[in-house]
């Protein structure tokens, strides 16, 4: 058979037997003695690539639906979601989504159960959740239990990707023997999109499972976006949006209102982009307002550690040795290690003060 010609569209070109008679038959060898690979034509290549995309879309239709659903609310999301749902229905009808579901079950990647947070809050309001701490274990100076190496402070560090930056620095500040730290961050998450990640529901489960006592939270950078309430879109920054965002922040704060639990909530520093910085000031204002009526929550200003002398954004600030250190990552939002170290100090100071960690550390050292 003749060598394939450009744009030769005769049928059967990509069948194995068609290639055997060409230069790249299965027995053909390279100079080094390796078997030669059979080349393909461009139309075959483009066809294979498009087919691969179609197969991936059908077999992974649920991933596409999730991808579309996690876009910001608006027309683009609606179109993407409609297309992805249509594809998902086709895949479902043909049972093509079964292999993916099987793998998900095999790897344990099943969605977390949702907790009815409203019902839980009602239970808490009725006082169903009791404090079981022995009064003799209460430190009169703090109103919280004494810390010891036998029973270290259970700390939960939770939030979005900012907590990924802060977590290691906070962990380093916390005394190893007196604290047990759980770092729980979700990239791109916040309180605006429970369809992407439902923090109230997740926190409710973590509170039961891990019983944290000092909770440190960072939210905000992903939150200044439109909200959806009962199918209605609330534009970011509008009065209805503020009301709804306040409510969501209040729900998380109330959820954490348990005996012997303290909450340290971070107010965000200035950001490089002035518009984004203004929106972060808005969400931080919500945190301050909501915390004002909830004494178990303290808002800690990260700006006190990260803003410049003029109170604005600072890319770098001199460290303790006077050498300038970059505080942010390339996006002007996330923290570098040096920035996280500075911010962690003000957050940890709050936890340490409320739980008298320094006293406990001194006592532990004295006891050997």
């Amino acid at each position: 058979m003749a060598e394939p010609q450009p744009h030769d569209r005769r049928p059967g070109r990509d069948r194995p037997h068609a290639a055997r008679s060409s230069r790249t038959s299965p027995r053909a060898r390279t100079r080094e003695g390796f078997r030669k690979r059979r080349p393909f034509r461009s139309d075959q290549t483009v066809g294979a690539a498009l087919l691969a995309l179609l197969v991936a879309c059908l077999l992974g239709s649920q991933s596409l639906v999730n991808l579309a659903a996690h876009q910001p609310f608006g027309a683009q999301r609606s179109v993407a979601l409609a297309l992805a749902n249509a594809l998902d229905r086709v895949a479902d009808g043909l049972s093509l989504d079964r292999p993916a579901k099987f793998v998900e079950q095999l790897t344990g990647r099943v969605p977390e159960d949702r907790v009815d947070v409203e019902a839980l809050l009602q239970q808490q309001a009725l006082g169903v959740t009791d404090d079981t701490t022995d009064p003799l274990d209460i430190n009169p100076a703090t109103g919280l239990r004494y810390l010891s190496t036998a029973e270290p402070l259970r700390v939960l560090l939770a939030g979005d990707s900012m907590m990924n930056d802060l977590g290691p620095s906070l962990t380093e500040l916390a005394p190893v023997t007196l604290t047990s730290i759980e770092l729980d961050y979700r990239v791109s998450s916040g309180l605006s999109r429970p369809d992407f990640f439902d923090w109230p529901s997740h926190l409710a489960q973590v509170l039961d499972a891990e019983q944290p006592e000092a909770v440190v939270l960072v939210f905000g950078p992903n939150d200044f976006q439109n909200l959806e309430v009962d199918g209605k879109i609330l534009e970011a920054g509008s009065a209805p949006w503020l009301t709804e965002y306040r409510r969501r922040v209040g729900v998380v704060m109330d959820l954490l209102h348990r005996p012997g639990v303290t909450v340290t909530w971070a107010a965000l520093p200035a950001m490089r982009d002035p518009e984004f910085s203004a929106s972060m000031a808005t969400v931080s204002g919500v945190y301050r307002n909501e915390a004002a009526s909830r004494p178990w929550v303290r808002v800690v200003e990260l700006g006190s550690a990260l803003n410049g002398p003029d109170g604005g954004y600072a890319a770098t600030l001199p460290g303790s040795d006077g050498t300038p250190a970059a505080l942010r990552q390339g996006d002007g939002i996330h923290l570098s290690r040096a920035g996280a170290d500075r911010a962690a100090v003000v957050l940890w100071d709050d936890v340490s003060e409320r739980w008298a960690v320094a006293d406990a550390a001194a006592e532990a050292a004295a006891n050997g």
């Binding site: 080349p39 393909f40 690539a49 691969a52 292999p99 790897t107 890319a315």
Partner: protein, 514 residues
């Protein structure tokens, strides 16, 4: 636009389809690829396009003027200006913040008002396209290249598969491919699909898993981890950075293959290296070759005796380290590699006496590239690393071990030497790196992070480095006999598997920040 995303998959499907539809009209193909590449780059930040266009126009201007100049002094002066422009651009974006803040602090100390500071965003890919632009104007000055048409050069700089994190493709490797017609009958679909699939698996599954399971926890808080966890963190990072970076270049090479362009190999089973020299012949080979041709040889190469050679080698590695960023960790990493290479070479020379066995192994050939300077060519032969050159190695010394045993001992020592270097590369500070290394022998205790799955993953990734090349190539040759539609279906299913095994949301590639 990251490679392992749905957005990129759709983008590439369009580029592949339209690209091959235009292949008979080379000018239209180039214009389309240029537009697609700018779109790809602008997807991060449209302002970046202005920067790469500026770099393209200025470097093309320098190349043209250098080529037209007859006098060597004028050519050299123009080259100095061109190199200064490129390094200035790179330095401004990469080191501005660091130096500007130093200046502000100094002015503040002497009581002068601090000047306002610009907020500079580091443009993604700037290191890579600057290195490529440098190679272009230097090759023109050396008369190894004549300036290409502007559109060819523009496409060379911004071609989307290699734009963001390499491989660093040389002008002499890329531009000739734009001069010939694309052959629509000889596409290595099997090879490309395998490279892309392997790259995605390495990045999305292996690299992400190791980062989350052990590397990030250990490097973020070494004080909270035991010896075994620290050791697993160090070995895990060695695998993570390999999986991440080689994964990216595998995908880049595969994507380029599908659109009809061949890139040089960038990794060749580096952890099977039996010496440091051998490692650098296998790791980020395009950067090694670049440093050899545009830094080591201009510094004098191996001319001038062993001391000069070792000094040049050390400086090359030191500057290679500094290229990664203005941090002492990178400086120490570069110095450590340079010192390791020098010491290894001296020890080998001492052990084997003055005899040097000329064991020449041609590993790969660069088409159309021939050093014009005979001294440079001689130096190239003496150079201790670089995939594309011939190797001179000291004769093996007599030993009580068999050659096979020596090779395995060499592999063990080399791998651990490289891993120690990675500690500095990954750690946030020199203090952190030393803290990790210091704790490894002393911090005995429980190691809950070291699970059987983690140990198996690290072991499997190391074992893969020793699979014979003949086996993989013959298996691929067998797979290539399958019809194209089977390739499509299998690859689509594999994409879904990778998505399911990987985490939600993909972290950027490690080398994006360089």
């Amino acid at each position: 636009m990251l490679f392992p995303t749905f957005t990129f998959a759709v983008f590439f499907a369009v580029v592949l389809t339209v690209g091959w539809a235009l292949h008979r009209n080379r000018a239209a193909w180039k214009l389309f690829m240029l537009a697609a590449s700018y779109f790809f780059y602008g997807f991060w930040d449209w302002r970046f396009i202005g920067l790469i266009v500026l770099s393209t126009v200025v470097n093309q201007g320098f190349a043209t003027v250098i080529d037209r100049s007859e006098r060597d002094r004028a050519r050299s002066a123009l080259l100095v200006a061109g190199v200064s422009f490129n390094l200035g651009l790179l330095g401004f974006f990469k080191y501005y913040g660091f130096f500007a803040e130093s200046m502000r602090a100094t002015m503040g100390r002497v009581g002068l008002p601090a000047p306002p500071m610009l907020q500079i965003v580091l443009p993604i890919a700037i290191s890579f396209f600057t290195f490529q632009a440098l190679s272009y104007i230097i090759d023109v000055k050396r008369r190894e290249l004549t300036p290409a048409p502007l559109i060819d050069f523009a496409l060379y700089l911004c071609f989307f598969p290699h734009l963001v994190a390499g491989p660093i493709v040389r002008a002499s490797e890329f531009l000739p491919q734009l001069q010939v017609r694309l052959d629509p009958r000889r596409i290595d679909l099997t090879g490309a699909a395998t490279l892309i699939g392997a790259g995605l698996f390495k990045k999305v599954v292996i690299s992400s898993y190791l980062a989350n399971a052990v590397v990030d926890p250990v490097f973020n808080n070494p004080g909270r981890h035991s010896s075994l966890e620290l050791l697993a963190g160090v070995y895990g990072y060695a695998i993570q950075i390999y999986a991440d970076f080689s994964g990216y270049t595998d995908i880049a090479i595969g994507i380029a293959l599908l659109v009809g362009i061949r890139f040089p190999q960038n990794f060749n089973r580096p952890y099977s290296a039996a010496s440091i020299q051998d490692f650098w012949r296998r790791w980020h080979m395009t950067l090694s070759n670049w440093l050899r041709d545009y830094l080591y040889i201009p510094l004098g190469g191996s001319r001038g005796g062993r001391n000069r050679r070792d000094r040049n080698l050390f400086l090359t590695m030191l500057l290679g380290g500094l290229w990664h960023g203005a941090a002492w960790t990178f400086v120490i990493w570069g110095a450590y590699q340079g010192a390791g290479l020098v010491v290894e070479r001296r020890l080998a020379e001492k052990a084997s006496g003055v005899q040097v066995a000329r064991r020449r192994r041609r590993i790969a050939v660069v088409p159309g590239r021939r050093p014009a300077d005979p001294d440079a060519a001689a130096a190239e032969v003496e150079y201790p690393y670089g995939l594309l050159d011939e190797l001179d190695a000291p004769a093996p010394a007599r030993s009580r071990f068999t050659e096979r045993q020596q090779r395995w001992i060499g592999r063990f020592i080399t791998f651990n030497f490289i891993c120690v270097g990675w500690v500095f590369f990954r750690a946030d500070s020199v203090g952190d790196a030393l803290h990790i290394l210091w704790r490894i022998p002393f911090a005995w205790g429980a190691a809950p992070l070291v699970t059987p799955l983690l140990a198996a993953t690290i072991a499997a990734c190391l074992a893969v480095q020793f699979i014979p090349r003949a086996l993989t190539r013959n298996v691929l040759a067998g797979l290539s006999q399958l019809p194209a539609w089977v390739h499509g279906v299998a690859f689509g299913a594999f994409l879904v598997l990778v998505d399911l095994l990987g985490p939600t949301g993909i972290a950027p590639f490690i080398y994006f920040r360089f």
